[in-house]
Structures are given as structure tokens and as C-alpha cells.
Symmetry: C2
Subunit: 407 residues, 2 copies
């Protein structure tokens, strides 16, 4: 195999997770083991936009202590972006610019860290560079709290968000039962069109603090059934805790939330608002006092309660990406397969990027209970290994310490 | 001094904190050291309502391991209540019933754990029992995340909520800066008419992740000034993080949130909604995209990130209450005084209940910055000792373990 010597270009894209920077840590530290062929790791500021603008961080300029702190820093430490690369057949402007940048900085390894859309971007770049015969290895590094990528057991970022959600639901439940007579509490959870994150609230049930009802985008939502469910639970307990997905769909397949006319750069409808709608139904149509809690961006940023399993896997997918690239592989995403169902063990592999992009993996029917308003033990068997262990935060004076990077 | 032999009756009242059960732990374990005079600790289910209904937990029936877990359990483990005892001169029905219960169960020590309103309840009971010549020692155990009790340096519950808020604001901030161009993010924080909890967001500034603007009920709110502040920050950073108190007042002293006609049992106006109002101003009048985050009940229930200092103090105010009562003291609330400003050290004492009830302590002007939209170093000197240390949660399989009590 021809030894390809040059720089590695890395970027973060899409919504942050609490462990995407752990993948950056894995990439940077693994790249240092390949100094015979990787000169330096350049990191695009705000993903592909940083490449187009020649706006980079250099791994070689960073303090090693700060590289270590990437494992405890939420958000996208190097900046993220939601920028849709044009179709190759429509507009080559950005690709021509990228080729110029790749040549100028001798970029021979390109690693892009994100979800479906980012894999789409990575694949298009791999495709263009192949067409123009520029030798570069392109590897996608999976990341999304939504857990909706295909051909992978689960995505880095999901486990920590699931752990935060499970523990927070337990706390909300304990708080709720302080009073003898209560409200209908509706917790709105992220996840776009997949219910994985909302389903994670069911983990709290293993301790007896789970939601009474869970509504997922995978199950068509009926207002009548909802009112029936709530009436039954509230009649029995005088309390009702509900977890609901932001992307809940009604029986016609329309978003239960008021669909906003605004779309993001990828043409996705902006979600949110479903808990307000359900709370209004409970208040106005059922005459029960209700309150809603939107976990918001905290669920993807709660670095103070990361799953150690998730952090370690996020680091490893980063390492694997470097290993694949330096071994001459390209146009692939790092994958994780569960080797054994009994004893949790992950085998790392790779899958073609073009079969990942723009496909959303949702919860299989077999994991959802018969009434369609909760999860079953098959889901728990799947999810429990992912939230194990604590990545103890670096506290100093009562607050966490996040990385400080040099430009 | 006459030795008063009998049972100790304890109850939790008002909004839960993440450490109120630590005070219960302190009371139960201290009472066990006074077995010569305290036969058992009876705990009212749902506060004073449990007493009126003869609905009790017995400390002697609980598993010692579960008593230990009180230190890690949020909510009010024995149930709380918002029940206003009538004025003594207006209606004695409840008091006559209580006297009957006290006699029936030989209650000689009465400890009530709560905020302003609970201290009012405790004082009225002390007053009534004095009038009818029933010998019982009544001690108030302070608790409120709002930190608004007078004659005490700070209240148990505040430190843990402050720690949660500071760390969560850091995470929201890190997440927000992922994108090159952002929104105005408005985080609504609890605290009723006092700004202490909202002010705690300023702790995040010590790490460089604080809010850009903080609006407190202590500073009359001007929409014009607000728009000016936001325009300046957003113009400079293309991002703006705002922390705002639910109880924000305008220049006429009216609630900025849409004041609801509903009032709670104590005649308090139901708060909430201020972040929606400010977000609407930013969206509609300033044409900047905004989003709001309401931390909701999680801020008082986040047992997974408790301040160890707060937990230890909550335990100690419980112990002190038992010591005061067994020493013959009554009609007092346990207090904490900061002995030394340099080296943080708390001296425990007591203060007459009637001087605590219904008085709200707000943030002194000297702790607020000149522009009235932030805090200064005097506030940090006050607050930092309160969030120190971690009360490591009891994780099992990735979720916390809360206490299981026997009825």
C-alpha cells in the first residue's frame, strides 16, 4: 500500500452531544501514534465552514492537559455547523474551493464527526475527490444523541443523553410525589423523528420512578387514546407523569406539534411544541391541572452525568476512524456491532457512507409495549449497557472544568 | 430541667429541595441518641395533613440502609403539603384536632421542616399548645431552595440548587457556542420574589461560561433597558445568554410574567411565564431568533449533583433541632451564622419563629452590579462556599438509588 503522508483534517457537525469532544480526543491522540504519515491534525472551526474559510485549530498547538479535558467538555469544542453541501451535479463551487484547501494544506485524511447529514457531506466530498483524482481518505465518525443512524448498534452521544434523561425523570418523579394530589406533568424530550431518547425515560421504571405513559413518534398518536390513558392513570394515582417525543406524529402522519413553516438548512421541519399542545388538552378538555417541562439543550450537554461506556466508545470510534484512514480505507463510517447479547461487548467495523446518509433508524415495534404507550424488557436489555459507569467530572471550586483551546 | 419523655413528631412542608431528606436523616439519627427521652420518631405523611389524618411513618420501622439513602433522595420522601393553618383567633378546629393527636401519641417534640410558611405553621402550633398548657417543644428546621429566610446566612437546599444551576448554565453556554451564529437563549429560574437562585447562574462566569445578562426581582425591570442590553451583547457576540427570575417585577412593581388570577393556599400569586414574554419581545420587537429554557422542578430535585456542603449542613440543622428541643427550647428556628468571612465556618444557633415567618430576604444591593443586570464579587464570596464538594450519588446500573420507606 502506498504511504500517504500529509495532514489530517477533522471537523464536528450538527447538534452537539456531551461526548463528541471525546471522539476528538480519540482522533487527536490516535493520530499522534501515526506520526510517520500524519504530520498534524487540523481541526475546522465550525465544521466544513471552517475548511471553506481556512479557519483551523492545530492539535500540535494545544496544551496536552486541555486535550485531556476534551473528555469532559460538552458542546462542540471546535464549533459545529449546519451547512448543506450542494449536490455534486448542481453546483461544484464549494468542492472546488475544498480541493484548493486540501491541496494547500496537504490534507490526506478527512474525518467528519456527525449524524446523518454529516455522513452525507462526507460522502459527497469523498465522491468529488475521487472524481478529480485527489488522494484523500474520508471517514465518517458517528455521533448523535438521537441514536437514529443505521448499520450501527447505537450512536455515541445517545448513552449519556439517555443516562441524563433516566436520572432526571427519576428526580422529577420523586419531586412530583411530594404532594398528595398533583398535576399531569408532561416532559418533552428530543430525538427528532426517532423515539430513542424519549424511550430512555423508561429506564427510570427499573427503580420505580418511571413515567406512567410514554408517547413515541413510532406509534401514531390518537388524542382520544391519550385522554383515555391519562384519565385512567390520574384517576388511580392523582398524579401522572408523561414523557413525549418532540417528533410525535398523529394518525395521518402529521406532526402533533404545530408545524412551523421554518425549515432548517437540510429542509427539516423545526420541531418542538408538542408538550404545550398536550398540556392544553389536559387543562382545557380534561380539566386537570398540568405542567410541562422541556429538557431542551441540557439533554445533549449534561457533561456532569456522562455514561462512562459512552465516553469510552466515543473515544474508540475516533481512534478507529484514524486506523481505518491510515490503513487506506475511505468513504466509510465507523460502526459498532454488539457481539454478544448476554455479555455486552462491542466490535468496531465500517460501513459505506452512502448507505448511512439520510436514513433514520427508529425503534423496532418489538421493543414497544402492546398499548403503544410504553417500552418493554427488550428495550431495557438493549439500552441498559449503554448508560453504565460514570465519567467523573473534573470539578474545581464546585464547577466543572472545560477545555480551553488555542487558536 | 424537667425531663419530657415521649415521641418526636416530624414533618416536611412546602416545595421540596434535593436535601430536605438529609435533614430528616439528621433528625432521625440524632433522636436515636436521646432514647432516654425520645421513644420514637413519628413522621407525618404530607406534613401537617398527615398529623390531622393520623397518617404516620415510624422511624423505628425503617431499615437502617434506607435511612442512609435519605441523604441521596430528592423530593420530600415523607410527602409534603401546602396547607395553611387558620389564624388562631379565627378557627381553632385544626388546633383542637392536633392537641388530641399530640395527646393520643404522646408527642412532646414537634419539628417542622420548611420555609417561611412552614415556620408560620410551627409558630402557631407552639402558640396554641402554650395557651392550652400542653407541654411540647416546637422547633423549625429551615429549608428552601429560594434562600429567602431571614436571620440565617443561607438556607439548606439553596447550595445544591445553586450548584445545579451553575453547572447547567455552563453546559447550556458550551452547547450554545457550538454554532457560529446563534440565538438569544433565555433561561428562566425559580426563586419566587428573591433572586438568589437566578444569581447563582453567575457562578458559571468564574469559568467563563456565565450568562451575559442576569435579571433579578430585586432590580425593577425596564423593557427598553433590556432591549438595549440584548442589542449590545448580540451585536458583539452574535449570541446572548440570559438568566431571568420567575418573579421579575417591572418599574411599577408588577410581575413581568402574565400574572395569573390563580393564587395558592397562602395567597401567593402563581409565578412563571416571564421567559415566554421576554422571548416574544426578542422575536417580535427585535427580530432576533430566541429560545427559552425553563429549568422547572429539576432545579430543586437534582440529587445527582448535590453540594456536599449543603448536604452536611442540612443534616446538621436536623441534629441541632433535636438538640434544641431536648434541651428544653421551643418556638425557635435553627439558624446558621457565618463565623468568619475568610475561612468559611458555620455556627449554629436559634431565632424566634415569629420573627422568621412570612419575611422574605432578598439580595442586598451591594451584591448587584452597577448596571443592574449582573452580580459582583461580593456575591461570589458569599455563594462559592455553599456549592463545594460532591455528595456522590449511589448509582446502581446507571441510575440513582432512592430510599424505600415502609408505611
Amino acid at each position: 500500500m502506498k504511504k500517504l503522508k500529509g495532514n489530517l483534517l477533522y471537523g464536528q457537525s450538527g447538534g452537539p452531544t456531551s461526548v463528541i469532544n471525546s471522539s476528538a480526543y480519540g482522533i487527536i491522540t490516535e493520530a499522534q501514534k501515526h506520526q510517520d504519515i500524519i504530520d498534524d491534525v487540523l481541526i475546522m472551526r465550525h465544521g466544513i465552514q471552517g475548511a471553506l474559510n481556512e479557519d483551523f485549530y492545530y492539535a500540535s498547538k494545544q496544551d496536552p492537559d486541555q486535550i485531556e479535558l476534551l473528555k469532559h467538555t460538552p458542546g462542540s469544542a471546535f464549533g459545529s455547523v449546519r451547512y448543506k453541501m450542494p449536490e455534486l451535479n448542481e453546483d461544484e463551487t464549494d468542492y472546488i474551493r475544498l480541493l484548493y484547501i486540501f491541496q494547500k494544506y496537504n490534507i490526506r485524511y478527512f474525518l467528519y464527526n456527525g449524524g446523518n447529514d454529516s455522513m452525507d457531506t462526507a460522502h459527497k466530498i469523498a465522491e468529488y475527490m475521487r472524481r478529480v483524482d485527489y488522494d484523500v481518505r474520508v471517514i465518517g465518525v458517528p455521533k448523535t444523541i438521537d441514536n437514529d443512524l443505521p448499520h450501527i448498534d447505537h450512536t455515541p452521544g445517545f448513552g449519556s443523553a439517555a443516562k441524563y434523561i433516566a436520572n432526571t425523570i427519576m428526580e422529577i418523579n420523586a419531586d412530583m410525589y411530594a404532594y398528595p394530589k398533583g398535576k399531569v406533568t408532561i416532559v418533552e424530550i428530543m430525538g427528532r423523528h426517532a423515539g430513542w431518547l424519549t424511550a430512555a425515560s423508561h429506564i427510570a421504571s427499573t427503580e420505580g420512578y418511571g413515567p406512567d405513559l410514554i408517547y413515541l413518534p413510532e406509534v401514531p398518536f390518537s388524542v382520544d387514546k391519550f385522554k383515555q390513558d391519562v384519565r385512567r392513570i390520574y384517576g388511580e394515582k392523582q398524579q401522572c407523569l408523561i414523557a413525549v417525543s418532540e417528533g410525535l406524529l398523529n394518525e395521518e402522519g402529521l406532526l402533533v406539534s404545530s408545524a412551523s413553516a421554518l425549515k432548517d438548512a437540510f429542509g427539516h421541519v423545526q420541531l418542538g411544541g408538542v408538550s404545550s399542545k398536550l398540556a392544553a388538552i389536559v387543562n382545557n378538555e380534561m380539566r386537570i391541572s398540568s405542567r410541562r417541562i422541556e429538557l431542551g439543550s441540557i439533554q445533549r450537554a449534561a457533561a456532569h452525568i456522562q455514561s462512562l461506556t459512552d465516553v469510552e466508545e466515543a473515544i474508540e470510534v475516533g481512534r478507529q476512524a484514524v486506523k481505518l484512514a491510515t490503513a487506506g480505507k475511505s468513504d466509510l463510517m465507523v460502526t459498532m456491532t454488539r457481539e454478544d447479547q448476554k455479555e455486552y461487548k462491542i466490535k468496531y467495523g465500517a460501513h459505506p457512507l452512502n448507505e448511512i446518509a439520510n436514513i433514520e433508524k427508529t425503534i423496532p415495534v418489538s421493543m414497544i409495549n402492546e398499548s403503544g404507550n410504553g417500552l418493554n424488557d427488550e428495550f431495557l436489555e438493549y439500552v441498559m449497557p449503554l448508560i453504565q459507569g460514570i465519567n467523573t467530572p473534573v470539578y474545581k471550586n464546585g464547577t466543572q472544568t472545560f477545555t480551553k483551546l488555542k487558536r
